[in-house]
């Protein structure tokens, strides 16, 4: 068990550093964390945010990331590729019933509007709020 623990700890250290090297300031990370937890708690779905590169085909890559989550059926992934200026919202089988594609598109539009102004964190937070509000209606 101890042998198994130490690589995990090392990985967490690396991850901590990576998170701080990421695109967000500490304050933005806190807001994002709050938004994610609020969305999860209020809907029972699992929300996830990816910000980084997406390979071609973008949709396929986003779906692959989505399938790596622990419970893809009940998960919603928001994948953002700032370099390519695209974003993908992937909803799992069950999550799709709660958040229809049309509503997801609405959230995507508002996120894209924020991103085009250079506000990654704000766009993500408002997009998550929109998605979770929609999912919470059912």
């Amino acid at each position: 068990m101890i042998a198994g623990d130490s690589p995990a700890a090392a990985r967490t250290d690396v991850a901590r550093r990576d998170v701080l090297n990421g695109p967000f300031t500490t304050r933005q990370l806190l807001r994002l964390d709050e938004a994610l937890r609020g969305a999860d708690e209020s809907t029972g779905l699992m929300f996830s945010v990816y910000v980084g590169g997406l390979d071609d085909p973008v949709r396929g890559h986003a779906e692959k990331l989505h399938s790596q989550l622990s419970d893809p059926d009940h998960s919603i992934l928001v994948a953002v590729a700032p370099n390519r200026r695209v974003l993908e919202i992937v909803t799992g089988h069950e999550a799709r019933r709660r958040v229809p594609d049309r509503q997801a598109k609405l959230a995507a539009l508002s996120m894209a509007a924020a991103f085009s102004g250079g506000d990654l964190a704000g766009g993500l937070v408002s997009g998550l709020a929109q998605l979770s509000a929609q999912a919470g209606k059912h």
């Binding site: 991850a15 967000f24 806190l30 989550l69 622990s70 998960s75 997801a104």
Partner: protein, 138 residues
């Protein structure tokens, strides 16, 4: 002769200057005061301005290249993005989410606890039509 007269005139001028509180500067001193000090002031202001903006260059600006570490956030500990796969390693994902969850939600029991349980599971790519969502670009 003219040389002596010049010498005398110079001495007289110096005396007059001193009487009025003036100082005589050599050429290096003049350069130091009238070039060196302004240059130092300009350099200090330049440093202050650009050191300030360098701290904020994490900000994403549309159209500018984006070179931040990819990040992937999930909210709760059960939401394990599997980090065993090579693709998960290369995007530095999953574990980043743990760092966020563990760092900000101290009441959660350790975020790494469930990692071992589903190693290698759920890496199947979903078929077309099983997921919904939306895309957008900006």
């Amino acid at each position: 002769m003219p040389c002596i007269a010049g010498e005398a005139g110079h001495r007289r001028r110096t005396r007059t200057l001193r009487r009025h509180g003036g100082v005589e500067l050599t050429i290096p001193e003049t350069l130091l005061v009238f070039v060196g000090i302004p240059a130092a002031v300009v350099a200090i202001i330049y440093l202050l301005v650009y050191a300030g903006s360098a701290a904020h260059n994490k900000r994403y600006r549309p159209g500018r290249p984006y070179n931040q570490t990819p990040v992937w956030y999930v909210a709760n500990k059960s939401a394990d993005a599997t980090v065993s796969g090579s693709s998960a390693q290369e995007i530095g994902a999953g574990s980043g989410a743990h760092a966020l969850a563990a760092g900000t939600a101290a009441d959660d029991s350790s975020g790494e606890a469930g990692t071992g349980s589903d190693d290698g599971a759920g890496l199947t790519t979903v078929g077309y039509g099983e997921t919904g969502g939306a895309s957008d670009s900006w």
